[in-house]
Structure formats: structure tokens, C-alpha cells
Symmetry: C2
Subunit: 282 residues, 2 copies
């Protein structure tokens, strides 16, 4: 169970993906939850080893874009999978409602400044895609403005990819019933009560609008150098397996290499031995 | 074993701490390594719970400054303790040789931009203190310039503290023999060979200069709102215990509180139940 899942959640090119008929639930090859958790843990160990090499190699970088409806598990999958790497080589960027300064720039300005430098992993919790999702659904800018953004996004991602940034984009797909169950379960968890918000309702009224907006994103912004993956996320443990497996496969395909030592190891050894002997005598 | 260590590694005020006579090795109250590791794991669990509250409260922030000689374990303690929190609420900033843009500003400019916003934890791997350490030891600026920096640092940290940023500063203290042993052990680890560097030698020649420079830092920049802690770090598992315990005590003293819910929970529950029933019927 240490190989990647090799289950393909990639959004196909050339035909429109329908979220309504795309499964939100899956269990994969796992007999039970424990087996799945073991698989995720093993993937994470391998991810950590590859991240070390990526960090040291300092030539390539990895950008993981995470989008999902409320309660689909963005925070959970960051805490349990994506963020389980050495924090020195990884940053999570959460994009919320733009600040005044951010709004005074083009929509990609705040995003660009968070692109991962060589050797690093950036995880985007929400992203530039909100500018063709929440912005579109709520008519925050004129249609002709957000319509042009798909091409701007494609050009932006092509530039990153050209600079050795590997990009993967993950959509966590949950059913409306599961989403409602999760909202409801928050009512029984006092430590989540601060999260309760009437605007969750208006967002649910827009459920169909979001579905269409996501489908257009998948249709228009899905090149091979920045592919979308739709992960069935009703089942939390399967979601974690699928994301861990995808992250592992991605890092494996990047194949980062440790640099050659810059010194003659055996010569250094003699110097150390001498120094150590002297220091111990003191 | 779930209480903090309550062992005080705080650098005393009013008298000069001598690193030469300050212990580099300790085992604390632990019978063995396993007991110590269990203690660290329990601390981390509590740290994670408190971080959740800090993140949600969004009023206070925590800045942890980490300084140490090479091979003293900065990377290890970040990977195993300080960085073991939800990455959405925490960022590690590694300060290396300043870039051209950074050098064209005052020495605190690049540091200030990495100060933690409300709700967040910033971990500094090296920091503004390098500007009175490596800079001083290597005469990178005139003495009258670095001499003035102690006061600039104090004023800078006072401003952060005044804006609800809790600051703790950690020095990992290892013996020269242990340091040399660790340099040597890297020779037998091929995955560390890229790290080998002749400049490790010149740095060791400056061992005494660094000792003096650190002692002056501890004497001049150690107010109650930004205290220094000297952690015995020859023993890796004790180092982790001590740092975990210090981080836990610090978060406990900050006492972050979950905000009150902004809605009437029971009213929301009715709305959810109705919505859920409707969605299930569809």
C-alpha cells in the first residue's frame, strides 16, 4: 500500500465536466478507515523525504491551489496532509476578501507575491480563482471584466510553469447533503460556534451558481501544466488518501535531486578529526 | 508529566550571563528518552489546542526568535516542536544573507515585514540579532553602527509588544565538542554532504568572538516583554522538551479565548434541520 493510488481525478480536457454527475463519495481500494490512514501516513513520509530534496535542490517549486465549497474540508486537508511538511520549506497562503491596498491593484497582484520561490511549496487556501467564482456569482465586477480573467489566469500560470513551478489545482467535491450535515454538526461543537454565520445561508442559495462557475473554470483553465483535480470529499479519510497520493505523485514526477557536495569529504574528515582531538584535550 | 517543566532558562536581568559556565547539557526530571518524548508530544497537543484559540481569537500574536551556533539544532527544533502547529496560523521566516534590496534598507526593514499579524505565530530562524552577531564578528559595518543597533532592537521589540505581540527569544546552547561531533557525523550522511562547507572552519575560529557577541546581546536586549532563554541543547530530546514546555507556558500565559458566537445557535439549528430535510428529499 505504499504506491500512489494511480486513480485519476484529473478533469478531462475537451469535454465539459458536470459536477452534478461527478461522484462526491469514494472509498478506493481500502478495506477500512485504518488501512486508509496507514496509506496516508506512508504517503506523507515519502512526501517529506521528497520535500527535503526539493528544498535543498532549490531549482523547482510547487504550487498547490485548493478550492472548495464551505465545509468541504480545506482546513482539514491542509492540517492533515498538505501542511505536514517541514514548515521551513512550505507556506500556506489564505486569500480572504481583498484589503483596500489589494483592491487597488489588479486581481493577480496579491497572488503573484505569494508564488513559491525555488525550493519551496506554496499552498493556496482559496486563490485567484475566487475572482471568477465569488466575484462572478455576486456580480462584484461587470461580466466583461471577469470574463477576461480566465485568459489572464492562464497566462499567469503559464509564466509560473515556465519558471519551474509545478502547479496542481484541487477541488474538494462534496454533496449538498454532506455539506449541510457538516454545518449542522458544528452546532454541537461549542469550539466551532464562533464560525456560525448567517451568510452560510445566502451562499447555499447560490449553490447552482457556484456549480456553473466552477464548471466554467474547469473548462477554461485546465492546461497540462496547471491541471485541475476533482477529489471526492464526502468521505474524509478517502479525501486525505487521494490528496496525499496526488501530492506524492506530483513530487515524484518533479524528481528533485540533492546537489553534489562542494568539497572533498575525506579531506574534511581529517580536518574535523584533528579539530575534535584538540577541542577534547582542552 | 503534562505540566510545563517550570525550569527557568530565562537569562537573568542585572548580571552578565557567562556562556562558558552555563550548562549545555541537561536531562531534567526525565528517567529516559522515551519519557521525554512523551512529554514533548503531550506539550505539542496542548500547544495545538491553544494555537487554535489564538488563531480564532485574532487579537494577540506570538513571535519566537531562534538563534544558535551552526549545528545546534535550529532546523531540528523547528521541525520537531515549533513548527508542529497548524501551518495556516504559523510561518517560519529564515533570514539569510540580506539581498540587494534588503541591504538598501535599514536592518529592521526586512524583519518588520515578517512580524506576526493578530492570530498568527511567526518563527524566526535567525533574526535581526544577526546584525549584532555575524555583522559584528566579521566587521561588516563600522563599530559605531552596530553599537547603536541594540537600542534600535529594543525600541523595535517594544513597539511589537505594545501591539499585543508576545515575544520570546531562544538561544540553543551547545558545547564546542558536541558541535564538532555533529559536523563530523554529517560526513557519514550522504544526504547532508551538500551542506559541507569550508566556511564552517572560519566560523569555528571565531568561536570566542561569537560567545562575547551573544553575551552582549543577552545583557543589552533582555527586557521582560522580550526575554531571552538559553536552552541546554547538547541533548536533543531534552532540548525539544525544554522548547516545547516554554512554548506551551507562553501560550498559556497569553490565554487566548474563543470569541462568542455571533448568532443564536438554537435558531440556526432549526433552519439547518429544515434545509437538510428538503435537500434529502430531492
Amino acid at each position: 500500500m505504499t504506491e500512489p493510488l494511480h486513480q485519476d481525478f484529473r478533469v478531462p480536457k475537451g469535454k465539459r465536466l458536470r459536477l452534478k454527475t461527478t461522484p462526491t463519495s469514494a472509498t478506493g481500494p481500502f478495506a477500512d478507515k485504518d488501512e486508509a490512514k496507514l496509506f496516508t501516513a506512508e504517503c506523507i513520509k515519502k512526501i517529506q523525504n521528497l520535500q527535503y530534496k526539493l528544498f535543498v535542490e532549490q531549482k523547482q517549486s510547487l504550487l498547490i491551489v485548493l478550492q472548495a465549497p464551505d465545509a468541504a474540508g480545506k482546513d482539514g486537508v491542509i492540517r492533515k496532509v498538505l501542511g505536514r511538511v517541514n514548515p521551513q520549506g512550505s507556506t500556506v497562503h489564505s486569500f480572504k476578501v481583498p484589503t483596500e491596498i489589494e483592491r487597488s491593484h489588479d486581481f493577480l497582484w496579491r497572488i503573484h507575491s505569494c508564488a513559491p520561490p525555488a525550493g519551496q511549496i506554496s499552498i493556496f487556501n482559496r486563490s485567484h480563482y475566487e475572482d471568477v467564482l465569488v466575484v462572478r456569482v455576486n456580480n462584484l465586477v461587470p461580466k466583461e471584466t471577469w470574463q477576461r480573467r480566465y485568459e489572464h489566469i492562464n497566462a499567469f500560470e503559464a509564466n509560473l510553469a515556465d519558471a519551474q513551478t509545478k502547479i496542481i489545482k484541487i477541488y474538494l467535491h462534496i454533496s449538498r447533503t454532506e455539506q449541510l450535515q457538516r454545518f449542522k454538526s458544528r452546532l454541537d461543537m461549542p469550539e466551532k460556534h464562533w464560525k456560525l454565520n448567517v451568510s452560510d445561508y445566502s451562499a447555499r442559495d447560490q449553490y447552482e451558481d457556484y456549480r456553473k462557475a466552477y464548471e466554467e473554470v474547469f473548462a477554461r483553465c485546465n492546461p497540462d501544466h496547471a491541471p485541475w483535480y476533482v477529489i471526492p470529499a464526502d468521505n474524509k479519510w478517502f479525501r486525505d488518501c487521494a490528496v496525499a497520493s496526488l501530492m506524492l505523485e506530483t513530487l515524484q514526477s518533479m524528481n528533485p535531486q540533492l546537489p553534489e557536495p562542494q568539497v572533498e569529504v575525506e579531506e574534511i574528515r581529517k580536518l574535523y578529526d584533528a579539530e575534535l582531538a584538540e577541542s577534547t584535550q582542552q
